[in-house]
């Protein structure tokens, strides 16, 4: 087992390429990876990463994905949902879809199950898989737009073993990068999740390279004591980026709650008139992890960390490595 720790900037620079297909874990209010998308934007603006025409795959388009869309870096989205649940729909995704601003994007609608099954097919190296969903209605025919006209997506097939039942054949999704947020990971890439699994198992397995963003790096001994809590085995993980509060403003169950105030603030400032100012502060202004935390604010962090779900992480907290030790383990 080798040390897979990586800085945020190295992970983005090494794995994200022009036209990459990027799958993100989590759910609209939980364990998303906005920090990874922010770093793409930062490197793009700094001219050290040349990306365009990205394809985003995931449970929804919320804060991070929306900003990539707003900056015109996204060609296509494959997702079952276009918003933040109750805080609201993605203003930016709506503008791209309804008005083609700042550019037209392609959107492939899935259901939550059909998305999971397409990723499962990718994970199991199957070109296609069967699904009970996707045989009826418009979900089955709205594929990613080819020549600006919709084309048939799912294929409906009758059971060849004689039950007369019909299923959909769904094409696999094989992302170039799968990026997921975890509360805890060790240096070997073993990632622990507390709370719901969403699509994460299959997203993490479908990617050519899988990157974990971890609030805390823990001693491998914690994995050996709680090996059944490891949702992402290091054997399948390419890099682990230590980044406390990386999931913010989504939650990280076990550590902090979702920041719905900030989500609403983001949605209010999602129009082009105000977005640039928002991004200056929340994407570009900071130059270190400490400054990133300052932008969120200590009071805000304390408020978000005062959460009933923290009871779930109690057994793991004693194994958290101190920041200086993690810094020493980071390459470079």
């Amino acid at each position: 087992m080798i040390n897979k720790l990586s800085s945020l900037s190295d992970a983005v620079n090494k794995y994200v390429h022009d036209r990459s297909i990027i799958a993100m874990g989590g759910f609209p209010l939980s364990r998303e990876t906005p920090i990874f998308f922010k770093e793409i934007l930062r490197q793009h603006r700094a001219g050290i990463l040349n990306v365009n025409d990205l394809t985003l795959v995931g449970p929804s388009i919320t804060l991070g994905g929306s900003m990539l869309v707003a900056e015109g870096l996204v060609d296509s989205v494959i997702s079952p949902f276009a918003g933040h649940e109750r805080p609201g729909l993605s203003v930016i995704a709506k503008e791209a879809l309804e008005k083609g601003l700042p550019r037209k994007i392609k959107w492939e609608d899935e259901s939550n199950l059909s998305l999971a099954m397409r990723l499962m097919a990718g994970a199991l190296n199957l070109p296609f898989i069967t699904c009970t969903s996707g045989i009826w209605g418009d979900l089955k025919k709205q594929g990613l737009v080819e020549g600006m006209g919709p084309y048939p997506k799912n294929i409906v097939m009758e059971d060849p073993f004689g039950s007369a039942r019909k299923v959909a054949l769904l094409q696999a999704i094989m992302p170039d990068i799968s990026v997921l947020h975890v509360p805890f990971a060790d240096i070997h890439g073993n990632g622990i999740v507390l709370g719901s699994g969403y699509h994460d198992i299959w997203i993490s397995r479908a990617g050519k390279n899988t990157i974990l963003i971890a609030d805390h790096i823990i001693d491998t001994e914690a994995c050996r004591r709680y090996p059944n809590l490891v949702m992402f085995p290091g054997a399948g993980v390419s890099a682990v980026v230590p980044w406390r509060f990386g999931a913010w403003p989504t939650n990280c169950v076990g550590l902090y709650k979702e920041d719905v105030d900030h989500m609403q603030y983001f949605l209010k400032n999602s129009r082009r008139e105000t977005l640039q100012e928002y991004m200056e502060k929340y994407v570009y202004s900071w130059n270190s992890h400490d400054e990133y935390l300052d932008v969120i604010g200590k009071n805000r962090i304390d408020f978000l960390e005062d959460d009933p779900s923290t009871v779930l992480s109690e057994p793991l907290r004693p194994w958290i490595l101190p920041a200086d030790k993690v810094a020493a383990l980071l390459p470079g």
């Binding site: 259901s111 039942r165 979702e258 959460d307």
Partner: protein, 275 residues
């Protein structure tokens, strides 16, 4: 109650969505596995659990099972106050793929932007062009999957001429498909389909032969005439039509003081001064 409804004074005491919540909560019973979606559909299952059906198990699509919510009504199915106190966490494949498709979910609550006369739902877009929709909305989420597998599902939504329609702008989620027995004979879906739609005016249920929605109940503050006017197809009144019961004091107490404390979901704070 009344033969003609139209008791507008009721709207000073209750909101239309309180009627919808209380009526739809009564669908829960015994030890059902109940699946709960985002938004207003979070409310009735929790109301039922506190009042009529303490043994139900609530399932959220992200993977949370058997949770007791800490605090008020959550902002989504994946918030920490739902996940902090659950009996088990699985994932989307476990909830939507297994429990639901395998027939282990008795009841699902859904929301929708549009429903057609066969109870099919649209939550994806408004307008007639997928490539340039007049309004993009949320998308399927898990609704398509839940509607296929759940033993029954009920919908809570607004009642307007462009919401309860003859033809959907986008067919996201199957109810009774093309009507009659088509849901089962043509498509072979495992679940029982759409049990009822609770709008802010009425309860619509499928006719047992044609599977076309009918006015099964109406809230006593409205009238059949108003409902028909606000429906986008020529809706019939069911044989066993009745006026919906007025919410009980107990129901209202729990909604206003325990679940929807801010009134964000049911709007009750717009008619009643909060203490």
């Amino acid at each position: 109650m009344s033969d003609n409804g139209n008791h507008k004074d009721l709207l000073k005491k209750y909101t239309p969505m309180e009627f919808a919540c209380c009526a739809s909560a009564r669908y829960c019973a015994d030890d059902m596995n109940v699946f709960v979606g985002v938004g207003l559909s979070l409310l009735p299952a929790q109301l039922a659990q506190r009042l009529y059906a303490p043994d139900i198990t609530i399932i959220y699509e992200g993977g949370t099972i058997g949770a007791t919510v800490v605090g008020g009504l959550p902002w989504g199915v994946d918030v920490t106050c739902i996940q902090a106190n659950a009996e088990c966490h699985t994932d989307v494949v476990g909830t939507l793929g297994w429990l639901c498709q395998k027939g282990k979910v008795e009841l699902t609550y859904l929301g929708a932007a549009q429903a057609d006369k066969y109870g099919n739902l649209n939550t994806t877009l408004r307008g007639d062009d997928y490539l340039r929709p007049a309004a993009r909305i949320s998308g399927s989420g898990g609704a398509h999957d839940l509607a296929i597998g759940s033993k029954t599902f009920v919908v809570i939504m607004n009642h307007r001429e462009d919401r309860i329609v003859d033809k959907l702008d986008y067919r996201t989620t199957p109810g009774f498909c093309e009507g009659g027995r088509s849901r089962w004979e043509e498509w072979g879906f495992a679940g029982g389909g759409n049990g009822a739609i609770y709008t802010d005016l009425a309860v619509l249920r499928p006719n047992p032969d044609s599977y076309e929605l009918e006015i099964s109940e109406a809230y006593p503050f409205t009238s059949i005439e108003e409902i028909k006017k606000k429906t986008g197809f020529d809706i019939k009144v069911a044989k066993n039509f009745k006026w919906t019961d007025i919410p009980t004091e107990e129901e209202i107490d729990i909604i206003r003081n325990k679940l929807d404390i801010t009134g964000d979901y049911t709007g009750w704070t717009k008619i009643i001064k909060k203490n």
